[in-house]
Subunit: 442 residues, 4 copies
């Protein structure tokens, strides 16, 4: 029985564990930088399997974390996570409790390529459906963390990563090279890849593989798409305008109106010129200003995002947006603070890697159907782009794949759920790709 057949058998045998892992994570979803229980579970599992693990500041560069929750939220969540079912307290480090989440597991098997696999692990700030029509509710694994939900499948991604870890450790004698498993925090909002990349984990990578579950049929005609390209580059900006309060009836001239600064900024942001180089986007999604009807507002907060079909267009949009906010603040005599809260770049899977992975999969997993379009277009934004661009800039090859599964409701909605048959399938795909790229023969 060759390595690929062993892999298939292992993955099929792991299926119940994969489902159990996914459901445990689904029940306790954790949004960006709060993946404390999640990281602890991964940390414990990888350690027990024999992986060398990096956590805390060795996994992500703390200062480069974007969109960090406030200290009170971190503290309260840490307390909650520790109290939850199945949290391995010994592996929930002090750094994790401070929001330095994410885990890197590494397995070195002598000479050979460095292959990094990325699994994102965070949840969304949504409230999950609680009715019987929703399978997770009916079967008891719906979210128990109020206002958080795994509605994009990252619970599955984390479970797949754990399955890949176990399968590759079992097959380690046949490996030639280094396997690096990157469990990434804070992908939603494009907040985590920057801090992971800054910690250097992509600098020596020869092959980089990411994968996302995607809805059957809607996007593709196979089980697996080997490469994708084109997600929009984006910058998420938190903007704070500060003015001077005054009694609006008594002394309006003493005020500095932060609400009007924000209003001016919102209008001008949406008026940033279209770009001839491709699609661009801007949205002021949230605006909160003022404390009372008769008080000149001294504070206004905005949540803004810009996007661009290319990193260059996005940089144009971000630079314009920052200047617009400064100008609006000056117009109304206010101060302005713009904080980067998330970032992704444009991305393109390498044709060479797509070709090689395609060959490997067709040869070693003939039952899996590959999509006819091998390098499909992505919309939305994904911070894996930052990792891919780093690998490519250093001479490595990267691809961002899709694995298809039936979904109960679209991603990012309260009724999201997926067919867990995709979990062992994805373990096979990741595993065979690693074996193939390391030159293991069928």
């Amino acid at each position: 029985m060759n390595a690929y057949e062993q892999l298939k058998n292992l993955a099929d045998a792991l299926a119940p564990r994969l489902t159990a892992d996914r459901r445990s994570l689904h029940r306790y979803p954790e949004t960006g930088w709060l993946e404390m229980r999640t990281s602890a579970i991964i940390h414990e599992r990888l350690t027990s399997l024999g992986y060398a693990c990096l956590t805390g500041a060795k996994a992500v560069k703390p200062d480069e974390r974007l969109g960090l929750p406030d200290p009170g939220t971190l503290r309260r969540h840490a307390e909650a996570a520790l109290a939850q079912e199945g949290t391995p307290a010994a592996f929930l480090t002090e750094e994790m409790r401070q929001g330095i989440t994410g885990v890197i597991g590494e397995l070195r098997c002598g000479e050979g390529p460095v292959i990094a696999l990325r699994f994102d692990i965070d949840a969304l700030g949504l409230t999950e459906r609680a009715d019987e029509g929703h399978r997770p509710a009916r079967e008891g694994f719906a979210s128990r963390n109020p206002g958080m939900m795994h509605a994009c499948g990252h619970d599955g991604h984390a479970a797949i990563g754990l399955g890949v870890a176990e399968a590759l450790m079992t097959l380690r004698d046949q490996l030639r090279g280094t396997v690096r498993l990157i469990f990434q925090p804070a992908e939603e909002g494009a907040r985590g890849a920057r801090a992971l990349t800054a910690a250097g984990h992509l600098d020596d990578v020869d092959f980089f593989i990411g994968n996302h579950v995607a809805p059957t049929r809607a996007l593709d005609d196979g089980d697996v798409t080997v490469g994708t390209w084109g997600s929009l580059a984006t910058s998420k900006l938190d903007v704070l305008f500060t003015g001077q309060a005054a009694h609006a009836g008594g002394f309006p001239e003493q005020g500095r109106n932060a609400l009007l600064a924000a209003a001016s900024a919102a209008l001008a942001l949406h008026g940033i010129p279209r770009h001839s180089g491709g699609q661009s986007r801007v949205n002021v999604g949230v605006l909160r200003a003022g404390t009372g009807r008769n008080v000149v507002p001294d504070r206004a907060e905005m949540q803004v995002e810009v996007r661009g079909e290319t990193t260059k267009i996005n940089r144009f949009m971000e630079a314009e947006a920052r200047r617009v906010c400064e100008g609006a603040a000056l117009t109304w005599g206010c101060g302005c603070q713009v904080t980067l809260a998330g970032q992704a770049e444009g991305q393109r899977s390498d044709p060479e890697l797509i070709r090689r992975v395609g060959e490997i999969l067709r040869e070693t997993l003939p039952d899996i159907r590959l999509s006819s379009e091998q390098n499909a277009r992505n919309w939305g934004s994904e911070d894996i782009s930052i990792m891919m661009n780093r690998v490519q800039a250093r001479g490595g090859l990267a691809t961002y794949m899709r694995t298809m599964t039936d979904m109960a409701s679209p991603q990012h909605t309260a009724g999201f759920d997926f067919d867990e048959a995709v979990l062992p399938l994805a373990v096979k795909v990741f595993g065979a790709t690693v074996l193939g790229l390391m030159g293991v023969k069928k």
Copy 2:
């Protein structure tokens, strides 16, 4: 001992009770249309004193209440009020529980003028200081209703009204005419006078007297100012813009951006032309829009107020404001709903009544110093204006007085408190004024 000497003795004897009443009300402050415990206490006291009482729809016309809290808030507050110390449950009527608060007490003593006195009874939406440096906290009568506080002295006003009620009932054999005691809900935000006036209580009034505690020295050089004029007419508007949500990255053209409608409206509202006829004001005090960074906002709420030195200027401002909101909604393809949440008018105390009250007070209460400026300018807005204008339109005379007291901190601040010596003083002023206007000789 003449009636005025009896009055003075009564007021001095009532002082402990006045303080106790004020502190009981201070401990359980109730904001507009939630004055349930307060109304029940007044209702019980006036009834036991022998006044004919009107409550519910006979006190205020329900449909004319402005700025009504939502049903859930009313229900929860009613439950809380019933459970609180000293609430006379039998007098907390079903109508009061629905937010139809306020009490009218009437005493008829044969032929003679109808004299209406107004006492406002509501608290503010502030959180009271809890430190030892704040006397109400130190002495145990600070607010126990979270987020509510008597920070403008209406607790004192209500206590004064109860004291006046007792004093005048005691002196009833000497009265000639009708005394009407109006305990007004929802003065803050200018929300209650309209509903009281609509119920007809001002239609047959010959003399109308209001009074507000005011800071010693800051505004005046005596103990009492007999008349004031000029508070700004105002309209409080709640504005809701409704649009259409859309994914801002995916399909921005499908959105209808309520946030931008609100932003446009805010800018244009502040650009309503100045008025050559006198001072005007406009403020968008609060703006809340949007649900997420990457969603086109489908909902935006604004709390707006306009003011004018005259009712006419305010009407101009309000009409402009309403049209601006409609226009901004149309600009961005949104809907718009503007709700009147408060209203006051311009006001002017009658010189004739000022003259008569001045004579009465100088003659019957010679120890009280009258301010040198007998008809002082008011700023801010006060919905007593609606009552005064109604009385004056029907041929009666009205004045709005001030009684000075030392204050620990300005009105409408979390550290507000006042010297309770003003309570019996105000009882004397109200009482002597009623006696004098009814022709009772010294």
Copy 3:
């Protein structure tokens, strides 16, 4: 000598006349709906050649003319045109004097396809360079009409059309079908095609051919590009806001501020959402408002344009723009009038016709190099799109070609000039295409 050789000889022989015609038109350039001398010259020439001519309301539907100059401008220009060198007064009809310009010439040669050729004839509102460095100035054919200039090559297009007319008339015995020569007014600003199309001239067309001179090398690698696609659909809007003047110091509240309506509209227009379906554009290119520093402006004019990568996107932009202007007017209590001043659609040359024309040219004019990209991308906007879409909607085939020539300065600049060798070249291309499509053998 076959028809194609005859054609080549004819075109070469016509070269001096083509240059002379082009220079005469260049010397007296006429902007949209003022092409009176130009139309009269074409009218006379076609008539004398034996073409059946349509002018006035038979050429363009008067009510569908967009961006018409005001009556005074029409009257003054008619007087000037009549007085100019070489104007055939007898052919300058009363309708032309009213701005109903353009000429259709038709030649029927029995059974066979209806082939329409389009030549646009109008100039731009530019002032031409007058220095010796500019050949038209140096050689005496620079513009003598102040503020007007042939800076896009339509003088050449008209001359080519006259050359084609003469060549085909000479070869008429060999033709099978109908040749329709459409000399279109008011292409600049996309103002004329709509009125021509509304007159029905495209309804029965089997093959429709347009052509534009284009700069050598910059856009293409051959002499001729057989097809192009993709110019942006566009709508040009003239917007007038009307308010109420008032003395800004004395009675600002009496004003209705049209300047602020325009300012609000300008900002909101640039904030129309990006479209996920492709590129969109919006520009407020000109804003003129107000009469004096101390007067509330009662009038504001804007020149606006929107564009879309598709006609559908452009329709979205136009509908948004119209609503924005209405909303801004309402916001400021003003009236608003939006007038369509120009319009073009998205466009796509038919692959089938590109293929056939390519074969014809390669076979019959082997000296001419065809571009390697046969269906090149266009940017900018062109109202030939309206004609092409009409032909295609009725089952005909259309293509919009380019013929390359050296240019002294980019199109739409004051120093524009081109190498007149392109004129006989284009006559050959048009002529051979007509012959080939009518089945004339080489």
Copy 4:
């Protein structure tokens, strides 16, 4: 015959000359800094009467002139003025030709107070009515300078000044002190007083008297009002935004949109907070931006004015306005230049001087009726305020009077004309005031 009777006789005898002077000036009206012929005439007359004259940089500080016309306009007007009827070329100095207009005439008569009288001499940028119904047209003295008109009576003021000069020179033996006659340029738009004041002419003044013709009845119930107060302080600002042009269809992202900067500024300017200290005003009266529909506008000009009931309020408004323009420019990535084009302050006539002048006039010119309100309210703005404030700051007394006359149409309208009987009346008032303040007995 005492000095006052002499004065009355002189004034009556001068009446025909006053009318002739006024009509000569009316026929050749000259707007601010173009009063070249006007200054030359005054210069010649004062010199011939024996006054010591200051012109050019000795009259007005050149760098402090506000709202100066461009050099071409100055040059063309100088040529025209020299060619006009009655221009004394020898007195039209080189400095005047450069727009350093205005004349100061001084007469020293020993010890005694320095009394300055101010006469403004400029016209308005209006086109005068030319029909027979308008007396100046009918009688041949309507404006011959296109687009300029004496529509505010400054032609009369200048004629009065010349009459006063002649009368006082005749009575010089009876004077005790110094008479300074200030013929001020560029009062309209509040552009000249600053430069005159900067030249020091008000620094040693004991009594300063200004006077304006005003419509009978409309403002007053007498022939003369001795004092006025309260004209609004104002600053006139010319604002230029500069951006970067770009093809709006091709490369919108390359533009810097000056039109949108101006639009943002216009909206925010009108949103400058109301001031609790009194009336304020703001107006963007003119906005001109952009060159073509399809070009991102690279240039926008605005004519702005702010006003305040006090100089302090106006300073607040001006500072806000300047910051708003800077902020709007920054918002859109543009440059911004704000130029002060006019300025006036708040003003208040001295009660002491009003009392003294009132006594003098009642005693010496008993036929003249003084208004019942001796210190009337002014609206509008007047740069005499700058002079008055300077005199008062240095310890002198100032008053700004009105002399009533019938007007054919309101000031600042194309049909303005006035009853010239006011001219000798005003000479008497000025003359008697000077005599009285110098202590000349009746």
